[in-house]
Every structure is written in structure tokens, then in C-alpha cells.
Amino acid sequence: MVEDSQLAIGIVLALAITWALSTLGAGVEPLIGWVLLALLLAVLFVNLIVTARRAKRRIT
């Protein structure tokens, strides 16, 4: 549940960063979608690692 909420917060942050980047101008235009994709994968990956580490701590 905690990790679920953290994932949601991470997603919202990634979206906010992407939106902020999109206001910078034409130079970033082709990158916006890929930046969002990279940020979201990073959020998911970190969340999974944190979840696994917490689960590991519970059993050791």
C-alpha cells in the first residue's frame, strides 16, 4: 500500500517535470515523450527495488 502511494507520487512528479520541460521551448520538442518514458521507467524501477528490499528485510 505504501509502495503503491509512492508509485503514484512518483508518476505525478514525472508528469510535472515533463510538463515543466515542455514549457522551455521548441528545442526540447522531439524529446518530451521519451523523457517522460525514461522518467516513468525510473520511477517504476526504483519502486520495485524498494518493495523487494522491504520484503527482504521482513524475512531476514
Binding site: 515523450g33 517504476l44 518493495t51 523487494a52
Partner: protein
């Protein structure tokens, strides 16, 4: 939109995602019907479908007609990401053995036991049975409505294709469920959730970016690449988590 593209990007994903939701609703309705008789769960199901119709007919139409297209795409994108990445995360954790695999048979048996424990009310109408079925169908039905809107956000052709996909899923799942009178354990639900989670997340990235006013190279075709990247990253994550927690499903701390 090209019919083949509508089939690939709207009808098929909508079919797969909706089938998962219909299987979950069917399991609950079956459990109620088998333990408490069919009248109440059928009335509960019909009431839920009516409620759903009213919600979609009022809120859905209002949103589509009032909210500007770009903002609507961005909102759909945000919701898809919040919904899809959660599915994908759970599917990855299940395949890595960190949380228990979704077992429709187990859920069915648990539901049966709970309903039997509550006993049949000695009234003319079984309210518990109707409410349990109503809640299950309304919840899963709302998710189906959301899935259809998400996959149909590209326009009328895509929306029609997504609706056809969802209806086909309902016909297949309900048809098989009624014929077997058993939970549909043969549906590879976790695999479907894995794939659908990746698809929902990909559509979320696509629509949010379009909502911000940026076009993707190749338009909707870029979705195939985004889905591929999500799937690759997810498979890599499963392998990594298995290496990190080789005990996998044997661990007790499953409720994450």
C-alpha cells in the same frame, strides 16, 4: 483511422483488458449465484449495469463535450499512467514471486466460504447476494468503461473499435462462464495484466505527450515501440527481482 490500426491499437487491447475485468466480476457473481441462488445476483448485476449506463451517459458525455480535446488527452494520459503502471508493478512483483499470483479459483473458494458463513437471510429478497454482485459488477464495469475511453481516445473510429472489443470480451467471458458455471481459471490473468499494464502505460505516455501539444514520430505506430520498451524493461525487472529475492513466493511478506 485505418481499420487495421484501429483493431491493433483499440479493439484488441480493449478486448484483453476488459476480459480481465469481466473474469473478476464473473467470479464474484458466480460465487454468489452458486451459494445463494441466482435471482439476487442477477438483479444486482442488472442494477450495476444500469448505474454504469447512467454514469457513462451523463459524466462521460459531459466530459467529452465540455473539456477541450488537448486537456482531455492529458487527463486520460494521467489516469492511464496511474492505473496502468500500478497493474504493471503488481504483475512484475507477481512474476518475481514477491506477491502471490492472482488465483481466480482461490478467490472463488474464499468468496464461497464467506457467503456461506453469512447464511441466507430469511427474507423474500437476498440483499447480501444482490449487494455483493452489484459492487463487483459496478467496480469492474467502471474499469471497463475507463479502459474503453482510454483506448478509444484517438477518435470516433478508435472509440467504436474499443467498444466492440469490450463487448466481444463480455460475450466471450460471460458465455464461457455461464456454460461452465465455474471461475475462469484457464484465463492467463497474470499474463494479461502484465501485457495490459504495459499497454495502458504506453497509451498513457502517448496521450499525455499529445495533450501537451507534441506529436510522436509515426503517430500511433510509435505506440508499438513504447509498448516494446515497457515490456522489455518489465521482463528485465522480473529477472532482477528474482536475483535479488531468490526465495520468491516462499517469503511470507507478500502483502505489498
Amino acid at each position: 483511422m485505418d481499420p487495421t490500426l484501429a483493431l491493433v491499437t483499440a479493439a484488441l487491447p480493449s478486448f484483453a483488458a476488459s476480459a480481465v475485468e469481466f473474469v473478476e466480476a464473473m467470479t464474484i457473481v458466480l460465487a454468489v449465484g452458486v451459494t445463494r441462488g441466482w435471482r439476487a445476483p442477477l438483479i444486482g448485476t442488472l442494477a450495476a449495469l444500469l448505474t454504469l449506463g447512467v454514469i457513462i451517459g451523463t459524466l462521460g458525455v459531459a466530459i467529452v463535450t465540455v473539456v477541450p480535446e488537448a486537456l482531455l488527452k492529458a487527463i486520460v494520459g494521467v489516469l492511464l499512467l496511474l492505473f496502468g503502471l500500478r497493474w504493471l508493478r503488481k504483475a512484475i512483483l507477481r512474476f518475481a514471486g514477491i506477491i502471490a499470483i492472482h488465483d481466480e479459483e482461490l478467490i472463488y473458494q474464499r468468496e464461497l466460504a464467506e457467503l456461506r458463513e453469512q447464511g441466507l437471510a430469511r427474507t423474500d429478497f437476498d440483499r447480501i447476494g444482490a449487494i455483493v454482485a452489484y459492487k463487483a459488477v459496478l467496480l469492474e464495469g467502471t474499469e471497463v468503461a475507463f479502459i474503453v475511453i482510454a483506448f478509444g481516445a484517438a477518435g470516433t473510429a478508435a472509440l467504436n473499435a474499443a467498444i466492440v472489443g469490450a463487448i466481444a470480451a463480455a460475450v466471450v467471458v460471460v458465455g464461457i462462464g455461464l456454460a461452465l458455471r465455474q471461475p475462469l481459471t484457464m484465463v492467463p490473468e497474470n499474463w494479461l495484466k502484465f501485457g495490459v499494464g504495459a499497454m495502458l502505460s504506453s497509451f498513457g505516455v502517448f496521450w499525455f505527450t499529445e495533450g501537451l501539444g507534441f506529436a510522436w514520430p509515426g503517430d500511433a505506430l510509435s505506440l508499438l515501440l513504447i509498448v516494446g520498451i515497457f515490456l522489455l524493461a518489465s521482463f528485465a525487472s522480473v529477472r532482477l527481482l528474482r536475483a535479488l529475492l531468490p526465495l520468491g513466493a516462499k517469503i511470507e511478506a507478500r502483502n505489498v
